[in-house]
């Protein structure tokens, strides 16, 4: 319990990338899920991890967050190896993950404030309003959009320097999507936080990304600065089509 790295220590690790992923490989039940995955996410940036279904994005996310050790290769967060003991520096929203359905939103947030050492009550209050979360509602009775907003609220109310969101928009209605996107932007504006977001909703998100990393069939199919793409007359969407269509 005591082995939680303080986020403040990470800030001082000068200029190390938020995520450095080298030659990561993973095999499950004799099937190769990821091979030779190498990329970096600059601190303070908002990076999109894009790729079709089954490309290995969720497995990659679990490895980056240190939930699962890779079979080969290394992952570093702010210059130190990832792993369960580094969960304090990152805030992770799992793909289609569910919170305990028997709690109300308020009960969950109360528990979360105790569970996460970097919880900010002020951020929670501020974002509860922006995201429209009703504390009296039971999680099991929420719509997908409502639960997605609560999950994002949980992620953003923490002060961890790295936020990793795996498909935050799956099954989420338009208005919720917009609220979530606005909240993400609002939180990263101070430049202290780094975001890595895996999503299918390219149109909703492409204006937000600094960089995109394309993943297909378990390998990196490209990594681009979005501004460079635009200067050459391409959009994120057209780049995605070129690679995967």
């Amino acid at each position: 319990m005591s082995n939680i790295a303080k986020p403040t220590q990470e800030g001082s690790a000068a200029k190390a990338p938020a995520i450095r992923c080298r030659d990561v490989g993973m095999t499950l039940k004799k099937k190769s899920i990821l091979a030779n995955v190498t990329f970096e996410v600059e601190a303070g940036s908002l990076t999109g991890l894009l790729g079709p279904n089954g490309a290995g994005k969720s497995t990659l996310m679990r490895i980056l967050t240190g939930l699962v050790p890779p079979e080969s290769g290394t992952v570093e967060l702010f210059g130190a190896p990832a792993g369960p003991e580094r969960l304090g520096v990152l805030s992770f929203l799992p793909d289609r993950g569910q919170l305990p359905p028997y709690l109300t939103a308020g009960e969950w947030l109360q528990l979360a404030a105790g569970l996460y050492p970097d919880w900010s009550r002020a951020a929670e209050r501020d974002l509860s309003g922006k995201l429209g979360v009703d504390p009296a509602q039971r999680i099991g009775a929420m719509s997908r959009g409502e639960e997605a907003r609560l999950q994002l609220l949980t992620c953003l109310s923490r002060q961890a320097p790295l936020t990793v969101l795996d498909e935050p928009f799956t099954g989420v209605d338009l208005v919720s999507r917009e609220r979530i996107a606005s909240a993400v932007v609002g939180e990263m504006a101070d430049g202290e936080r780094t975001f890595l977001i895996a999503t299918h909703d390219i149109r909703e998100m492409e204006q937000l990304f600094d960089r995109i990393v394309l993943v297909g069939d378990g390998t990196i199919r490209g990594s681009h600065l979005v501004e460079d793409l635009r200067r050459s007359g391409r959009s994120v969407e057209s780049c995605y089509r070129e690679v995967f269509a």
Binding site: L67, D95, L103, Q110, L111, P117, I139, G140, A141
Partner: protein
């Protein structure tokens, strides 16, 4: 339109087909289980038990399998992702449920048939062996085969219908039916000791002639229930299934809006918060009305049991022993299913993502489970104590020797709680089997063996002699030796569990299905 019910039936049957010994691998599983049961019966059920008793055990097993499988099936439907597709098939809802029930009955006939063959082989081997006091006549054996065959055949639809009746008991006043259903479902378990008795009076009721009669009655009841349950479920259950929101059973019954931030939720920081999170699950569970009704029934049962059974010291201690046995069986069973359930429900990533060591996660889960079970058991013990006090309380106290029996109680508590904790830790190590297939072969017997552990304890560490005249130095010595072996083992398994718990998300039902499908395609 005529064809649709058949297609429906085919659809339902497909969900069971995978369990049949249709390929070499599952054939091996079936054969292994089959031989294991036969061998166990031949080893453990010797002359002291009559052939009819063994057939009756078979009947009980058939009743338990059909009854509990259908109970679990009707529990699972509510959370099944296919539920809404199923409900919107353009056929009468009665046909939907009929197809489901028929497929279930067909599957149970396969298992009942296998159990029947085991019983027959057992009888044959014993008759051929010729050992024992009385030779077994051929006509008696033949009569048993046929009579119990009929009984098995009648029990399957009867118990399946009782199980599926649960579909109509989820909401409203019909929840009160849960009480009789609870007791009826327990009947087979309670009749175990009855049919194993060698007394002449009991054995007379197990002979082929009378069993034919039971089979007839059971069949008539089954036919009656088949119609009644079908109508009942079509009338109430199906409409409620359509209204039900998955994942929020309680949410539905309370209109989805819980009391705003409940003040009784005490939250600390760090490990205390982790513990509070785990406890919230059990608190919610025990706040469900259905669970409350069943708990009151169980308490009444414990009270009534104590009222009738507890006369003096020995029966009182026996009662306490039974309650203690729950501590060995229940918490490990819950713990071993909880994490898997979370993974299946996609709740595990959030849990694993909490900024705590994996060991803390497991320990908090274990502590909360044990605390909840101890609290629940405390209620049952209190009910039993009240029951006992109402009748033989004075007698019990009079025959209770505080020095000797107090020591015995202490020993029993240490033994069972220690064992329960050890088994809980052992089961955490199960996640290691996701890494190494071979480990599965170690864990399979442990998981199924939990239920036999209390029996073994009775033989080795708490024999009748000890129950009669108290425990001595040797008992404590053995307990110390057992602890010296168990404690490091438990610690190792706990470490293993913490090391590999992250593999759960890759071993969900969904992942399993995907793997099987891709294997079949390959």
């Amino acid at each position: 339109m005529k064809k649709q019910p058949d297609a429906l039936y085919e659809l339902e049957w497909r969900s069971y087909r995978a369990y049949l010994p249709l390929d070499a691998k599952s054939g091996m599983y079936w054969a292994a289980t089959f031989l294991a049961i036969l061998a166990a019966a031949l080893i453990f059920l010797r002359e002291s038990v009559s052939i009819e008793s063994v057939f009756a055990f078979g009947a009980i097993l058939v009743a338990l399998l059909s009854g509990f499988t259908s109970l679990f099936q009707s529990l699972a439907i509510w959370e099944n992702g296919f539920r809404e597709w199923w409900l919107t098939f353009p056929v009468p809802r009665r046909d939907l449920i009929r197809a489901k029930v028929r497929a279930a009955i067909r599957m149970q006939y396969y298992t009942a048939g296998s159990i029947w063959i085991v019983c027959c082989l057992y009888g044959l081997i014993r008759a051929a062996g010729g050992e024992g006091a009385e030779p077994i006549a051929a006509d008696r054996l033949l009569g048993d085969w046929i009579a119990y065959g009929c009984l098995f055949a009648a029990i399957v639809p009867l118990c399946t219908m009782i199980g599926y009746a649960l579909l109509g008991m989820y909401y409203g006043w019909r929840r009160w039916f849960l009480i009789p259903q609870f007791f009826v479902s327990l009947l087979p378990i309670m009749s175990f000791s009855l049919v194993s008795s060698a007394s002449e009076d009991i054995q007379r009721w197990l002979r082929a002639e009378t069993v034919f009669l039971y089979a007839g009655i059971a069949l008539a009841l089954a036919a009656l229930l088949y119609r009644a349950v079908m109508a009942f479920v079509a009338r109430y259950g199906m409409a409620e299934l359509a209204k039900h929101r998955p994942g929020g059973h309680a949410a539905g019954s309370r209109g989805g809006r819980g009391t705003a931030v409940r003040s009784r939720l005490r939250v600390g920081h760090g490990f205390a918060a982790l513990y509070a999170l785990e406890r919230a699950r059990f608190r919610h569970f025990s706040s469900l009305r259905v669970v409350r009704i069943l708990y009151v029934c169980a308490a009444a049962l414990a009270g009534a049991g104590a009222y009738f059974a507890v006369r003096e010291r020995e029966s009182g201690l026996g009662m306490i022993q039974i309650l203690l046995i729950f501590l060995v069986v229940v918490p490990p069973s819950i713990l071993s299913t909880l994490t898997q359930h979370d993974a299946n429900k996609r709740r595990i990533d959030w849990w694993l993502g909490l900024p705590y060591s994996r060991l803390s996660l497991l320990l908090a889960r274990m502590a909360a489970t044990w605390a909840s079970i101890v609290i629940w058991m405390g209620g049952l013990v209190a009910a039993a104590a009240v029951g006992a006090a109402l009748r033989g309380g004075g007698n019990f106290v009079a025959t209770f020797d505080f020095g000797r029996d107090g020591m015995l109680l202490l020993y029993m508590a240490a033994l069972y709680v220690g064992l329960g904790i050890t088994v809980s830790c052992l089961l955490f190590g199960q996640s290691y089997s996701f890494r190494h297939k071979l480990v599965t072969w170690i864990y399979f017997p442990i998981v199924t063996g939990i239920y036999f552990v209390p029996m073994m304890i009775g033989k080795w560490m708490l024999d009748e002699e000890a129950m009669r005249s108290g425990v001595g130095m040797t008992h404590w010595l053995w307990l110390a030796v057992a602890t010296a072996i168990a404690a490091p083992l438990a610690a190792i398994c706990l470490r293993l569990g913490a090391r590999w718990v992250h593999l759960y998300p890759f071993n969900t039902q969904e992942a399993g299905r995907r793997n099987r499908a891709s294997r079949r395609a390959a």
